[in-house]
């Protein structure tokens, strides 16, 4: 796909945030905070970084994006729809009966979904397997995995991180959505992560950090990660609920959908923020 400029990416991200608010309002349940928090990164990935062909979702040369923290799938669905993987009209079926847009992603239901996810910690292992397969097949595409900070409570994540180092998977980039919030509260109270950077470094990964809402910085950092000769973690400092003032940094919005009044307020804010 053609790459969008920084200005175009900002506009697209704003549109996707509005899609997310509308989808979640129509669904009546779902995860608003993380979806809005990851919008800038997902927009940059799909409209500037990834090698992909939405009309040929299984193109073997594509970069793979594995969404490990499946609960933020509204942002993935909206981004895929905006990129042309499926009609925008489908977005309003999120979480409804007979919809391809399941509450958590299902690989076999929708084009562009690489793995099924929901139970945390599983995506990074699958990304490791996909990166191994690429190495075995001598293919040079990248595997991007999106994980959340709270997800790092799962031991499986660290099993996968060890394996990625052992097999020198320099085609693997794990973007950690570091917003400091998980479903029951701040990560520092639920399970302190301390320095994620040091943890990754001691597992022999390369670590980069970025402001997950600065479009230029996201582009620069991910492009840098692609050149690394080691598996690379990008710690993305993000704000839960980014773009909607009353949701920002409020952990109750981790797993909540807006009601009509909240939806209207959120859309108005986003429209004014364009």
């Amino acid at each position: 796909m053609a790459k969008l400029s920084v200005g175009e990416l900002k506009t697209t991200a704003n549109t996707i945030r509005q899609d997310i608010i509308k989808m979640l309002y129509q669904a009546g349940s779902g995860h608003s905070g993380g979806s809005l928090g990851m919008t800038d990164i997902m927009t940059v990935l799909y409209f500037n970084i990834l090698k992909h062909t939405p009309h040929q979702p299984n193109n073997i040369y594509r970069d793979r994006l594995v969404l490990s923290n499946g609960h933020v799938c509204p942002v993935l669905y909206a981004t895929l729809a905006r990129a042309g993987y499926f009609p925008l009209a489908k977005l309003k079926t999120l979480r409804k009966i007979n919809s391809a847009l399941q509450g958590h992603p299902h690989r076999n239901s929708l084009p562009g979904i690489e793995t099924s996810s929901g139970p945390l910690g599983q995506g990074i292992s699958q990304a490791v397997g996909m990166a191994m397969a690429a190495a075995m097949n001598k293919k040079n595409h990248h595997i991007f995995c999106i994980t959340s900070d709270g997800e790092h409570d799962e031991g499986q994540v660290w099993e996968a991180i060890m394996t990625a180092h052992k097999y020198k998977l320099n085609n693997l980039i794990n973007i950690v959505d570091y917003n400091g919030i998980q479903i029951d509260g701040p990560t520092k109270y639920i399970m302190p992560l301390q320095s994620l950077r040091h943890k990754y470094e001691s597992f022999n990964w390369h670590v980069l950090e970025m402001d997950g809402h600065n479009i230029k910085e996201i582009i620069r950092t991910i492009n840098k990660a692609k050149k690394m000769k080691k598996p690379t973690a990008i710690i993305a400092h993000t704000i839960l609920g980014k773009g909607v003032s009353f949701m920002e940094n409020q952990y109750i919005w981790h797993g909540l959908a807006p009601n009509q009044e909240q939806k209207d307020r959120a859309i108005k804010e986003l429209q004014n923020g364009k």
């Binding site: 594995v66 690989r107 990074i124 292992s125 397997g129 996909m130 191994m132 499986q156 099993e159 097999y167």
Partner: protein
């Protein structure tokens, strides 16, 4: 039928040999080990095909996920460990990363049943059939001997979709007929009086019981049902119709095993008096395989007792 002079061979060796054959024929075959390569007999494959052998260490959850990722990319990964850990420890990964995506992963649980022996209850997978049977898309196989394990492994590789194969540690009798098809049972001995259905090396106990019963003019039909899911409903219903009495035998918990699967089938389609032989809601313990089967009342005298009870009814 049973020939005590024949050399014994283990089901796990059948698996190990099949992997060598598969590795030679198909470049997409990948083996993943969680630090039990020698025990599961994939060390032969590891030596022969090192570039297609992945060692993840003692990390079964990650192993299942890595297998799913490899399968999504077109490989045919065999994720191998003891049944107690695989699928015992990584069931959620099996459910979502593998089965929900219908990923072409082969899950290998060796060292299942009481027959693991001296390692004791922690290592004796007695619940693996019960936890794999309800998973959509998953085929569940439990071959009876060395020969059948080899064939089942090759059939699993040909089948597109996830397959769980359980087998055992110990050397055991070879008594199957050398044919294997997913979804098919085989009648080892035909008889009109009672049907015994089972799987795995313990099925040999049914063959011994049958010899004893023949002396009392009781003719038993022994069915080997290595395909637990899909079950060979046709063969089982036909036999149940003929004999009107069904006994199941398995080195597994009675709750949720083959006995349950057959009870589900018969309850809906042809209610038939049954007895189920297996472990009855208990943990195992250390001991030799034969001692444990004896202590947990799964050997041929207990099978004979169940047959006589059913015949009296």
């Amino acid at each position: 039928m049973v020939n005590n002079n024949k050399p014994l061979k283990s089901t796990r060796d059948g698996f190990g040999e099949a992997m060598l054959e598969l590795g030679k024929k198909n470049q997409d075959i990948v083996v993943i080990s969680a630090d039990l390569a020698e025990s599961t007999r994939v060390h032969h494959f590891a030596k022969r095909y090192p570039s297609r052998f992945v060692e993840v260490g003692v990390a079964e959850q990650n192993m299942m996920g890595v297998a799913a990722g490899l399968a999504i990319e077109g490989k045919i990964p065999f994720a191998t460990s003891f049944g107690a850990f695989n699928p015992g420890r990584n069931w959620d990964q099996l459910r979502v990363s593998v089965c929900y995506s219908n990923a072409n992963v082969k899950i290998i649980g060796s060292h299942t049943g009481l027959s693991v022996g001296p390692d004791g209850a922690s290592h004796q997978a007695l619940e693996d059939i019960a936890i794999t049977r309800p998973l959509p898309n998953l085929v569940v196989l439990a071959p009876a001997d060395y020969k059948e394990t080899k064939l089942a492994t090759i059939a699993a590789a040909k089948h597109h979709g996830p397959v769980y194969i359980r087998f055992s540690r110990q050397a055991s009798e070879i008594f199957t007929k050398g044919k294997f098809t997913i979804g098919q049972a085989q009648i080892l001995l035909a008889g009109p009086d009672v049907t015994i259905v089972g799987y795995g090396p313990i099925l040999n106990e049914a063959l011994i019981a049958t010899r004893e019963l023949a002396k009392k003019k009781i003719k038993v039909e022994v069915i080997n049902s290595p395909s637990i899911k899909p079950l060979d409903e046709k063969t089982i219903l036909k036999s149940a119709k003929k004999t009107g009495r069904v006994i199941t035998i398995e080195d597994h918990q009675v709750i949720g095993g083959l006995g349950s699967a057959i009870a589900e089938l018969l309850a809906e389609k042809m209610p038939t008096p049954m007895r189920m032989i297996g472990v009855r809601d208990q943990f195992g313990e250390s001991g030799q395989a034969e001692q444990l089967w004896e202590k947990y009342q799964m050997t041929h005298p207990y099978i004979i007792k169940a047959v006589l009870e059913l015949i009296k009814k």
